[in-house]
């Protein structure tokens, strides 16, 4: 079933880009297409290399980490095992242990639960675990699909604060799909608005925020 009808956009390295839109607009599908979880037509280039014909497993090896909607944690494995899996494709096994500690630095709550089964963690903790696992890849680009979904507002704030920290200190690019436009626009440098499979608005966040249509539909003011 064809969901996207001509999506065209680019990401600046190290920037945070938000993909906004209502439910069913095609935001999640766009992310999935980038990782080859769904079939797509057209070109996708990453750092000068075409990746649209690659398999998901190879795209991961290029440094793209996808945090799917629903988090995708391995619920029957422990927190720490989830993190170890995040580093599965890395060759520098010696650094992995150090990275685990670094990631615990961002998410101290996960360290407390390191030996717990991931399925027993709360929603907010699982979201953090999903991001932490993605970080274990040492990615150059993070794809996040609706991270705020189902989280209490305080947790959302905390999560996005950490996300901002990560983006600034590690220089990791972020492509963020969100229904919660307000919080996404706080963090993002650029934004695109998708409606029924097409981009209807694009630009720098300050421009987008001033746009009347966006304010009415997505910011509620």
């Amino acid at each position: 079933m064809r969901v996207l009808h001509g999506i065209n956009f680019g990401l600046a390295p190290g920037s945070v880009t938000a993909l906004l839109g209502a439910n069913g607009a095609g935001k999640t599908t766009t992310l999935r297409a980038l990782c080859a979880l769904v079939r797509s037509q057209g070109q996708i280039t990453f750092d000068g290399q075409r990746i649209d014909r690659l398999a998901t497993e190879d795209i991961v090896r290029l440094g793209i980490a996808h945090v799917p909607d629903g988090r995708g944690t391995f619920t029957h494995l422990t927190t720490e095992e989830n993190l170890r899996l995040g580093a599965y494709v890395r060759h520098d096994k010696g650094e992995v242990a150090a990275d685990v500690e670094r990631v615990y630095g961002y998410f101290p709550r996960l360290k407390e639960r390191r030996r717990q089964q991931a399925g027993t963690l709360s929603g907010g903790e699982q979201q953090m675990l999903a991001l932490a696992r993605a970080l274990m890849l040492r990615p150059r680009l993070l794809l996040l699909d609706e991270p705020s979904f189902g989280l209490a507002p305080l947790l959302v704030q905390e999560f996005f604060k950490i996300l901002g920290q990560i983006n600034r200190s590690e220089g990791v690019g972020v492509l963020l799909v969100e229904q919660n436009a307000a919080i996404a626009l706080e963090l993002a440098d650029h934004a695109y608005v998708i409606e029924t499979g097409r981009i209807v608005l694009a630009g720098r966040t300050d421009e987008i925020k001033r746009n009347e249509a966006v304010r009415a539909s997505y910011l509620g003011c």
Partner: protein, 290 residues
């Protein structure tokens, strides 16, 4: 009393064999949600390969090692050449392929090695150890081999990166791809391990039941019963189920029902578990859908 002990120890020995085969079945079920009907015949075929090697003079433990490696490769080949191509097809198609494999391995063994019953050596001495007469050396040895095998597998899954990846694939194939695990490789690994485990079960069983192309069909039935009883998605359950079924079979056979209905006993367990508690004792799967 002596008879009871004899039966219990014999039951533990055959139980170990059932546990090993059940473990192979569970491993494939965990990875693919499929029941490998051909597991018994693959194990039998591997045992014949071992027999052939021994006939040409290769010493027992070298044969053992080579057979395990051969079986591993066989399992990997089956996954890559056959099963990978039919992933996603309906259950009936998969059952057809499994039955096809069952029949091919059975007939290959019969064709190459003929149907005459052969003797398969045990690596353990003929006299019972320590001068007692409750358990034979082979029974003790086979049980020990099973336990070592289980321990090695447990360690593999718990402590190695590959084992972790296999567990991940069994639970959540999509997330596994998102961390870069090549799912088909892990499936091949799973099939290889299952085939290797099956070959060990066959080599431990053959000295007891003698080598002939139909030797594993009863054992396979017991392994199914054991795996279901323990929990089709629980390796620990499969092991427990195997030993339990082995001991029960012997006790019931010796003291209650007689040996004539052993397979019916397995049938009753299988149907009983599926109807009463499909997830088995330790499993967590919902076996029946809406």
């Amino acid at each position: 009393m002596e008879e009871l002990l004899n039966q219990v120890f014999a039951g533990l020995a055959t139980g170990g064999i059932y546990a090993s085969l059940a473990l192979a079945l569970v491993m494939i079920y965990q990875a693919t949600q499929l029941v490998n009907f051909a597991q018994g015949e693959m194990a039998m075929f591997s045992t014949y390969i071992a027999w052939a090697l021994i006939q040409t003079g290769v010493p027992y433990w070298a044969t053992f090692f080579l057979t395990v490696v051969f079986s591993f490769l066989l399992g990997v080949a089956i996954q890559y050449l056959l099963l990978q191509r039919i992933r996603g097809q309906p259950v009936l198609a998969l059952v057809v392929v499994f039955i096809g494999l069952l029949v091919i391995f059975n007939s290959l063994a019969g064709w190459i090695f003929t149907y005459t019953i052969k003797v398969f050596p045990s690596p353990f001495p003929a006299e019972p150890p320590f001068g007692q007469h409750y358990v034979s050396a082979h029974e003790l040895g086979a049980t020990a081999v099973t336990l070592v095998l289980i321990a090695l597998l447990w360690a593999f899954f718990r402590f190695t990166s590959l084992g972790l990846a296999m567990r991940a694939v069994a639970q959540n194939p999509v997330s596994s791809r998102l961390v870069g695990i090549r799912v088909s490789q892990m499936l091949a690994l799973g099939w290889g391990l299952a085939a290797a485990i099956g070959s060990i079960a066959g080599m431990m069983a053959a000295p007891i039941v003698f080598l002939d192309p139909n030797m594993m069909s009863g054992i396979l039935l017991y392994a199914f019963a054991a795996a279901l009883l323990g929990g089709i998605d629980s390796p620990g359950g499969a092991v427990f189920g195997g030993f339990l079924v082995g001991v029960l079979e012997n006790l019931l056979g010796a003291f209650v029902v007689g040996n004539a209905l052993k397979l019916v006993f397995a049938l009753v367990i299988i149907v009983g578990v599926l109807l009463v508690r499909p997830s088995g004792i330790f499993g967590s799967v919902h076996v029946t859908r809406v």
